[in-house]
Assembly symmetry: D2
Homo-oligomer: 148 residues x 4
Amino acid sequence: MAAPVHETTLRVRYAETDQMGVVYHSNFFIWFEVGRVELLRALGFSYHDMEKLDDSHIVVAEAKCSYKKPARYDDLLRIRARILQVRRRTIRFGYEVIRDSSGQLLATGETLHVICNRSGRPRSLPEKYVNVFSATLRGSTPRYGDSP
Amino acid sequence: MAAPVHETTLRVRYAETDQMGVVYHSNFFIWFEVGRVELLRALGFSYHDMEKLDDSHIVVAEAKCSYKKPARYDDLLRIRARILQVRRRTIRFGYEVIRDSSGQLLATGETLHVICNRSGRPRSLPEKYVNVFSATLRGSTPRYGDSP
Amino acid sequence: MAAPVHETTLRVRYAETDQMGVVYHSNFFIWFEVGRVELLRALGFSYHDMEKLDDSHIVVAEAKCSYKKPARYDDLLRIRARILQVRRRTIRFGYEVIRDSSGQLLATGETLHVICNRSGRPRSLPEKYVNVFSATLRGSTPRYGDSP
Amino acid sequence: MAAPVHETTLRVRYAETDQMGVVYHSNFFIWFEVGRVELLRALGFSYHDMEKLDDSHIVVAEAKCSYKKPARYDDLLRIRARILQVRRRTIRFGYEVIRDSSGQLLATGETLHVICNRSGRPRSLPEKYVNVFSATLRGSTPRYGDSP
């Protein structure tokens, strides 16, 4: 059973296009980050607090994207993000970018992250995150702080 | 025998850093593009002309990056680019990002491109490019227009 | 009587921060563009169609921003945009950036644009835009296509 | 007598273009920053050290740009930067962007900065910077550490 997916919408900015008339490819990684952060928020976490209060930075170790169709200026996009794997010190996310008007899949991607403290040294992901993240992998849609 | 590598240097801009105090990861893909374009120039081609005169756009179909060490503000970087594979309608590039002062490898990456015309339709790569690109795979360091 | 203001909200992206821990200043100009486009949409126009169907590109001729307080990662911002002046071939917009949680004014700005065709040559703004844009300056909140 | 100008060259990246086929306007502010940092370096200062060792961040308080001609992909540009004014807590820089191949002036701009410590609080610019910066305003071309 696949992990629940969180969906965020955003609109393509003019600044994100290039002279081919489509979105420049590196912007998809910025959108992945937007989707990742909103997935965390939907799970009851703020990435801001994760960094500031829990000294847990999810540093990108690997990133990849497969481009199917171009995204265009002013497109309304749906960024679908989910957790693919949780380990003590790493976490893997998967993404899909969909054009809202047509339902077309524009791109898929993955990022692998290492949990680091503010000095950039690897550390274990605090328990409360592990619990909620792992629950999503079993197909449930938990939210931190919910009573069980 | 590995394809010859072209090396470009660039300096990390303040705008490329994020609040972790290191370079935001999507910028590496922009640097890959800088390396790719300078590799083409070293082979005797201008990507500007490739688009305008030969209607051959090398559209990104896949991109990936593996991050080893953070790049930091004002670092002088060496972007090493080479051709990994040439087919009639696709071309694959490989990259390494190295901190010049220490020689440390910061990241490696690959991009796969589909050759498209200005309407975004796939087309064959013109002969002159295929010849020079393929020669690099045999370990020679050709330059378009050189007498054989 | 001041022109009606259109308000758009957006959330600060991690990619928009720099190593000072605040938003890098050039991003405010990208947000101004987001506000400008949404103001046009609220007036009944799509900037996409303005370019494609009416061959009217609003090219930036001058841009300025005055920064009062830093914007920070994950801040929810309100971008307030309005038209300040409409002439046959130019249009001036004004902006305010406000942190939603505190109501604090973070920045103010202005952009002056020249209307150009797709080749970049100045042209007159089509009548339908002039009418609606000018009406905002008289304090009304028109929408293109509304019956009078 | 005008302050000496420092000139840096850079090449327009594909990522910096937009679907108008020219450089997106906010990138000029990033180039101004490149020019500013290289001007500092030419005066004997590293902005990296200015932040880390002297706790002096030159935070942007105002930025403006006037666009004359579009910059295009692969253009080699000359960014000319100079100091316009030095006060105890503020410093003003001026910029010109020139297309190298034609000598055409593409844009002019100015930025006003407030000197802040790492917490973002205004502070006085350390003496050694004031001395060298002020000397440029008298038309000399000093370098920090030079014997007088």
